[in-house]
């Protein structure tokens, strides 16, 4: 069982790493959000693994997973809202240009 737990946690760590890379390296707001989604997905795996293997009778763990999923969705809703507004006013959602144009 420990092996499964460690596989799951390593998956979570890898997803976190990929997400972090994406969030830092991408220039576009929407792509950055994809990175953030991956980071949150990493957190999700860890939470599920912890609940399943360590505290299967504490359902606050599952509740926490639901909350993370909600956060993922809301992050997208608000993020896209910002993207639409930015694009409407600037014609771009590139972060570098956000810096330049805000000046």
């Amino acid at each position: 069982m420990t092996a499964v737990l460690i596989v799951a946690l390593v998956t979570g760590a890898l997803l976190f790493g990929i997400g972090l890379y994406g969030a830092l390296s991408q220039t576009n707001l929407v792509m950055i959000m994809m990175g953030v989604e991956l980071i949150l997905a990493g957190a999700l795996v860890n939470l599920v693994a912890f609940w399943r293997f360590l505290h299967p009778h504490v359902y606050a763990g599952q509740m926490f997973v639901l909350i993370i999923m909600t956060v993922m969705a809301l992050e997208m809703a608000v993020g896209f809202g910002i993207a639409v507004a930015r694009f409407r006013s600037r014609g771009s959602v590139e972060m570098e240009e956000a810096r330049d144009l805000n000046g």
Binding site: R88, E97, L101
Partner: protein, 604 residues
């Protein structure tokens, strides 16, 4: 045996598959189902399944003669069909650049049935053959050119990088210079910069009528940058500075344009010149052809829509199959002229034949007896019924209303050659159809407020009457006045009103035929000799199913030396562009279909 067979030996399994293929005949009808119905062809009853995409078809059914533009379009469709594919041509006309027809028969339902029978035999036996010939006409050959994915106006013959943004140019095909009359060829070779800039400026002005000074600056800028791609950098920087009052953007821009291999490109610059959609977002626009052989529109009508998402940002409508003014004015014998006019509009041949005869009779000051006049009224009204039913069938297909498409087609085929008694029997069915449509859920919501055209004197026929105009030549004709004819007029001018006008006219025309009691036009056409040495000029107009058409002609010793024809679709076609701009795609197509345009009668 079949030119579109697959090149494989015909072993056991393939033979079985070929037999199955002979039972499932997906068909593309060229120029369209509406033309097939006008010739009394019931494609469905013959066992052919009409499909929308050439990928799903194995039979190309050619009905009658094809103008050159449609021949080419049909060749493109044929090239996109999957093998085994087969051409069934009804009528004795040349098809080039299509391969010669695998089966060629006359233009009647009986021969269509025979054709389908032969076709099944041919497919079952010859779907797989040891050899096959490639179909490669000149219009399909291409050359490769290179374009920047962000700047559509940058086009080079060699691979490389974009001079404006430094991105790798991507290959795309372009048609060879063979002036096919299609827009793409022109786009690739002509002066795309100028076309683009004017179009953009126009679009911007249209989309944002309350444009401010800044917007005008933007338009000028767009024109400038597109017109002179090599020298645009300085202008663009100056503009950027003015707009944002920001030193950074200048530095940034310098970096962009001086170093060709920069690692970052500015999206602001890419999007700035683009026109804004109605919600202020600047998206890429996509030019999509709908026609000349689009399943939801009459064959020959070509819409080129520039789509902003699924909104129509700009539209161009043309009818490459229309009447050429040059051919009309060509001096000719009366007899051939009559044939030419009455064959040009394939959707209302009788009305145009009557029109020419009236003009001739007016020129000769001939007087018709009352019986002939009544016979003509009957024939004209029967054609109106058929035309409206044909429109209903096509409209039903376009709005995805399967029942309507079938029911109207069945009625049209029944009414096509019906005599007075037969039409009397059909009348309850016409009334039932009308009532059924009035009760259909979703239909009102689908059509109300779509394609609003208000009357300004330029509309004709049902389209004008749906917009509240008493535009009906029949009101002035004594023959109709004797019958106490009253025309139907409705106020709002949208697609729903046009539907209602045509439905009301179906029953009205049936009642008129009932009142005149005779349908007979052909006997009044017999005396062609009377015009053989006629000189002078004649003018006539007639209320065709689509509205008033008029003809003015001058004759000299039995030869037509000049003629001027005015047709309703010629007046309606230019309205299409402004009618559907900023409409959703489906609404736009519904609006166009509701006009009942006949591409054949459009004057070029």
């Amino acid at each position: 045996m079949i030119s579109g067979a697959r090149a494989y030996t015909d072993n056991g399994v393939r033979r079985w598959l070929a037999r199955a293929m002979a039972r499932d005949l997906g068909t593309l009808v060229v120029p369209g189902l509406e033309i097939a119905r006008l010739h009394g062809l019931d494609v469905g009853a013959a066992g052919l399944r009409s499909v929308a995409s050439p990928r799903h078809a194995s039979v190309l059914l050619v009905v009658g003669a094809l103008p050159p533009a449609l021949c080419q379009a049909a060749a493109v469709l044929y090239a996109q069909m999957m093998r085994p594919r087969i051409v069934l041509a009804l009528g004795d006309e040349p098809l080039s650049p299509l391969p010669s027809a695998d089966i060629r028969l006359g233009l009647s339902q009986r021969e269509l049935l025979e054709g389908v029978r032969q076709l099944r035999v041919l497919l079952a036996d010859g779907a797989f053959q040891t050899t096959a010939i490639d179909f490669e006409p000149a219009i399909l050959s291409t050359r490769t050119e290179y374009t920047c994915p962000m700047h559509a106006d940058v086009i080079r013959d060699e691979p490389g990088t974009c001079p404006r943004c430094g991105m790798t140019l991507i290959p795309r095909e372009a048609q060879h210079d063979d002036h096919t009359g299609m827009d793409h060829a022109a786009m690739g070779h002509g002066q795309p910069e100028h076309k683009e800039s004017t179009d953009h400026a126009h679009a911007e002005a249209h989309v944002r009528p309350e444009s401010t000074d800044e917007d005008h600056a933007g338009m000028d800028h767009a024109a400038m940058s597109h017109g002179q791609p090599e020298h645009k950098d300085s202008a663009e920087h100056a503009h950027a500075d003015k707009q944002h009052g920001d030193d950074h953007s200048d530095d940034h821009g310098q970096m962009n344009h001086d170093d060709m291999d920069m690692d970052f490109m500015s999206m602001v610059e890419v999007t700035r010149d683009l026109p804004r959609g109605s919600d202020g977002l600047q998206m890429d626009w996509l030019e999509v052809p709908f026609g000349p052989l689009f399943p939801g529109l009459p064959g020959g009508l070509t819409l080129t829509l520039t789509l902003d998402g699924d909104n129509v940002a700009r539209a161009q409508a043309s009818a490459p199959v229309g009447i050429e003014q040059a051919r009309l004015t060509e001096p000719d014998e009366v007899a051939t002229f009559v044939e030419r006019i009455s064959q040009t509009d394939r959707l209302a041949p009788l009305a145009y034949r009557l029109l020419v005869y009236r003009a001739l009779e007016n020129a000769a000051n001939a007087v018709l007896d009352a019986n002939s006049i009544r016979g003509r009224v009957g024939a004209l009204e029967r054609e109106r019924i058929c035309s409206h039913l044909g429109w209903l069938a096509q409209f039903g297909q376009q709005i995805g209303f399967g029942w309507l498409a079938r029911r109207a087609a069945v009625l049209q085929l029944a009414a096509r050659n019906a005599d007075v008694r037969k039409l009397q029997q059909l009348r309850p069915q016409l009334v039932a159809l009308t009532q059924r449509l009035q009760r259909t859920p979703l239909l009102k919501q689908r059509l109300r407020g779509i394609g609003v055209l208000m009357d300004d004197g330029g509309l004709r026929g049902p389209v004008a009457r749906a917009a509240g105009a008493y535009d009906d030549l029949r009101l002035q004709e004594p023959a109709y006045q004797d019958l106490n004819f009253e025309t139907v007029v409705r106020p709002h001018g949208d697609a729903l009103e046009r539907l209602r006008i045509r439905l009301a006219e179906l029953t009205n025309s049936a009642m008129l035929i009932d009142a005149v009691g005779v349908i007979d036009a052909s006997s009044t056409f017999a005396h062609m000799e009377a015009f053989h040495h006629l000189s002078g000029s004649g003018q006539a107009s007639i209320e065709t199913p689509r509205g008033a058409a008029s003809l003015q002609m001058t004759l000299d010793q039995g030869r037509v030396i000049s003629a001027r024809l005015d047709t309703p679709s010629t007046r309606h076609l230019p309205r299409v562009a402004s009618l559907i701009e900023q409409c959703e795609l489906g609404d736009a197509l519904t609006a166009v279909a509701s006009l009942d345009l006949s591409p054949w009668e459009v004057m070029q």
